[in-house]
């Protein structure tokens, strides 16, 4: 073998096997969030793009069959984990309603737990924390934003961002852009206006508010348009992208003529002022509870031969949208599964709702069902194959509404009839599905992560975590986790070892390929010890 200079061997060794050392402290800010180090996952989506794609390649199609559990963390809670963990300075932060944990990312050992006082907020789910510098930001079921010291879990400040007495609640993971902590709100059971707020990370003071719908009680106008999922951000354009939820009343539009702006919309806002730059409405005049809050995924690539800054969304209403994110103009709109509620597309590329499919007293059969063709858990975009991979839910539901149901909140009733889960890979250039992978009866509802080595991680309806080949959808690895994954997986590298993390039920699982410290057979090692 050719001799290599000693220093280069040392350099290679150092690169391959970094020595454990006191880590240089990571300081979370917009620069880090724009380009997170390999040993971090500092925001809900990892970086700002929403691709949920990792550049890490240690786990490959060839070795993923050996993937094993590195550790598991038991929350011992009834509530399922729905949060996407953050990783900063070797510490993971994740949540269920009223609870935040700091956990050692190497061992799964708990560092601290913060428990919010018992409250009457709606405990429907908790999607994780946001982080700036050494501070965490957490939303409570009763509409408080709380900042915790990441080192200790001690409360720094606690402010009210939504009035739970009126019917708001909060679940989302705040997004940090510059010195703004951006928080959204939830609330479907009352006719309340939707909004997004920016808070000062130092004090919790409000910096701006953007309203998706007019003040409560405005006649002939929608309420709703809740902002309950974490948006994405383009640092170069300095634009914040956010999806808004359905209008209220939900199943009847008798009090809200027109398209109902800005409900069921994708909006671009200036993150420093909250000013609206443009809006696109996946579901004008909505009456089926299909929020448009699914991740607005930011992709820079060619579209039909032209370099484009795009925004892609697999929307809950069953349509795949590709927009030019500089101006909100449509590049492509196409259903990615069974839908029957639109008569066509308008000149903006927005579906035109069919009034015959509005909920009625004797019922209307709709596809998809209320859960939608997908829901809030993250899809993933794989830059190498150009595939947009989503957990889809082909489904059917019946929708009812009559005057006696009133015009407040749900204002009707709907029932799922049948559905199944399908992992689906969409070619963004055409909207055509390249491959599907059946995930089981009912549906799966897990998030998706892709890796630069050509792997896609997700979960099926039976509670198996799966690794499939990104190019084909072929299963390469699985492990039964005992509960359906309700989280979106993340990945990071620590001490030269790549981990994939996903919560299932109330347990957080960390997976890695086995550490190879000594490849000799055990007997020879024993002999050596005996010598």
């Amino acid at each position: 073998m050719n001799k290599l200079p000693l220093f280069s061997l040392a350099a290679i060794a150092a690169a391959l096997f970094p020595a454990p050392s006191a880590m240089r402290a990571q300081d979370v800010d917009s620069a880090m969030l724009s380009n997170p180090p390999r040993d971090s996952w500092p925001g809900y989506h990892g970086d700002y793009s929403g691709l949920r794609h990792t550049k890490l390649t240690q786990i490959t199609p060839e070795n993923v069959g050996e993937l094993g559990m590195a550790w598991a963390f038991q929350t011992n809670q009834t509530a399922a984990i729905k949060s996407s963990p953050l990783l900063v300075n070797g510490v993971l932060y994740f949540t269920v309603p009223d609870n935040v944990w700091a956990v050692d990312a190497r061992s799964g050992h708990q560092i601290w737990q913060y428990t919010y006082p018992q409250n009457k907020g709606l405990h429907i789910g908790q999607r994780g924390v946001g982080m700036y510098k050494d501070w965490l930001f957490f939303l409570s079921p009763d509409g408080h934003a709380i900042s915790l010291d990441a080192k200790t879990g001690k409360v720094r400040w606690n402010v009210v961002v939504a009035d739970s007495a009126k019917g708001y609640w909060t679940t989302m993971a705040p997004l940090v852009v510059h010195n703004h902590v951006i928080v959204g709100v939830s609330g479907d059971f009352d006719n309340l206006h939707g909004y997004l707020k920016a808070l000062d990370p130092e004090t919790g003071d409000q910096q701006w508010e953007w309203d998706s719908t007019p003040p409560d009680g405005t006649p002939n106008a929608p309420s709703g348009g809740m902002t309950w999922m974490t948006g994405t951000y383009d640092p170069k354009l300095n634009l914040l992208y956010w999806g808004t939820g359905n209008p209220t009343p939900v199943l009847t539009a008798s009090t809200r003529p027109g398209n109902g702006l800005y409900t069921c919309s994708i909006v671009a806002l200036n993150p420093d002022t909250g000013k609206l730059q443009w809006a696109f409405q996946p579901s004008p005049h909505y009456t089926h509870d299909w929020d448009a809050v699914e991740t607005p995924v930011l992709v820079d690539a060619d579209f039909h031969g032209q370099p484009r800054k795009m925004l892609m969304q697999t929307s809950r209403n069953g349509y795949f949208f590709v927009l030019d994110r500089t101006n909100g103009k449509s590049l492509l709109t196409k259903p990615y599964g069974p839908t029957n509620w639109a008569t066509g597309l308008d000149e903006k590329g927005q579906p035109i709702p069919n009034p015959a499919k509005d909920p009625a007293s004797d019922g209307r059969l709709l596809f998809p069902d209320e859960g939608g063709l997908t829901n809030y858990r993250s899809p993933s975009f794989d830059p190498k194959t150009g595939l947009f991979i989503v957990d889809a839910h082909p489904s059917y539901g019946i929708y009812f509404a009559k005057p006696a149901d009133g015009t407040v909140g749900w204002a009707g009733a709907d029932y799922g009839v049948w559905g199944k889960g399908v992992l689906q890979a969409i070619d963004y250039q055409t909207g055509e599905t390249k491959w599907t992978h059946e995930l089981g009866r009912g549906g799966a509802g897990a998030g998706v992560l892709t890796t630069d080595s050509g792997l896609t991680f997700t979960g099926d309806s039976a509670g198996n975590m799966l690794a499939v080949e990104t190019a084909t959808g072929k299963t390469l690895w699985h492990a039964g986790t005992g509960a359906q994954m309700q989280t979106s997986p993340i990945s990071y590298e620590l001490d030269g070892r790549q981990y994939v993390l996903a919560g299932s039920g109330s347990v957080m699982f960390a997976w890695a390929v086995p550490e190879v410290s000594d490849t000799r057979p055990v007997t020879s090692q024993v002999r050596k010890l005996n010598q």
Binding site: D291, E370, Y376, S395, V417, G442
Partner: protein
Amino acid sequence: MSLYFCSHRPVCLFAASLLTATLCLSAQSTSAQRTSTQSSNPTVQTPSARRQVAKAVAGTPSTALAESGNTVFQGNCAFCHGRDAGGGETGPDLTRSKLVGDDKNGEKIGAIVLNGRVEQGMPKFNLSPEQISAVTAYLHKQKADADLHQGGRRGVDVADLQTGNAGAGKQYFNGTGNCVSCHSANGDLAHVAKKYRGLALEERLLYPKNPPMKLSVTLPSGETVSGRLAYQDEFTVALKTDDGRYQSWPAAKVKFAVDDPAQAHADLLAKYSDDDIHNLMAYLQTLK
């Protein structure tokens, strides 16, 4: 936001969507009792009914207990059953529930809470006896409040589902829908309208919940084992034989076939017009 499907379900919504409508506290036989809860919810109250309601309100446990039950309810139950217990995306309206109405001191509600209805998508909740008694007080108060209010209720009444044409439904049943390939008006569906009414009947028409599926497995030896499908995912299939024994196999290593008697219902979903469904409902309601 929505009652966001999976979004907010404590058990996975997707999976539960199949089961959504079956998740009904009020039912032993869910469908049957849902009907009875509907009929027990008169939209016009008689004076005597009002007196009964007033009596029920007077008889409810202390407001303080109900208030503490409200806190427990919001923390554990509201994400499925709605903030006011009036029903959410995945959980039924508990104010219309027969079981809640029949419950005296939490003995029925407590059993459901502690054991869950896992098959129907409701997990167990490990609540203390004090918490159960508080939730019971809260549910009784919500039921009494709801009974006092006209309108604004979310639900489907039998009267809502009478817009179809029975003759056209019969034609669809025998013709386009080809329902006769599995069903007969004089056989399995005789008196179906007595067993199921309203929404329960329509839901069964569209897709019967948890249909018993059959699995037959051919082993490498050539031996065939058949039974009721007990489990299936991408990697494992399992059945229960007639004597109740559970057996499973790696899906890749055996030949197997699943017979899903309800698949024809699923296949029809994309083909129905709304009129077809209403007409079929009208026809089935003649089979008394």
